[in-house]
Symmetry: C2
Subunit: 106 residues, 2 copies
DNA sequence: CAGTTTATTCGCAATATTGCGAAAGCGCAA
DNA sequence: TTGCGCTTTCGCAATATTGCGAATAAACTG
């Protein structure tokens, strides 16, 4: 195989292996854990700011208190956009999503 | 029933009916449609900026091209936080989520 | 202390999202 | 035209999230 033929695919796979194997994978897990924790905290803060109980917020979005409690659990990993929007909507907020570049340590 | 007993629950339900019935409900759908469209566009832009094909990006996050295509479809309504993070991670980005107050028209 | 409200945890059914291949459409260059 | 790469669409199985009640814990009130 000539070394200049279709380098893109190989490069992509090399990038893939670099990113998902080794340290970055572990860092990624930590980042996600922090992100989930932050979402849980934001939901709790939003609800507290609105002076609502879990049961009341649950009614607003058509679910039950146990669901709200789960969302506010820092260890919960199942946050969905749909649920965040329901909560935001009930509390007169909107969910903004942004992709922000990560600077890799040189 | 005395009119001052447990007003909170009723108030919450009134708020609920006001918000989810009538105009706001329709507005909410429009807002969601726009939001989904925006997410689809962002994913496409991010992938284009990285000069990757759908198949290449799919490999990066361990899925197939048809899945990426679905995510970039403006009419797709199933966007999940998990998937956004996978894409962001593969492209050296992080997903930021913010709740932003909506000012209701007076 | 008892009584009340709120919050948490668990299990399982219902719903939603993802995974994946196959087929077809599209654009472009030979 | 054909071939090739890229994209789009479809259907269904696999996985993930949600819904919900019940039981318990925790916090607060009288």
């Amino acid at each position: 195989m000539p070394k200049t033929l279709k380098p893109t695919r190989d490069a992509v796979e090399v990038l893939h292996r670099r990113f998902y194997e080794g340290k970055p994978a572990r860092l990624k897990n930590l980042e996600e854990a922090r992100a989930n924790e932050e979402i849980a905290r934001k939901i709790h803060e939003l609800r507290a700011a609105a002076a609502l109980t879990q049961t009341q917020l649950a009614r607003l979005i058509g679910t039950t208190a146990s669901v709200i409690c789960r969302l506010e659990d820092a260890d919960y990993e199942g946050h969905s956009l749909a649920m965040l929007r329901r909560i935001a909507g009930a509390l007169n907020q909107r969910v903004e999503i942004r992709f922000i570049p990560i600077r890799r340590s040189a």
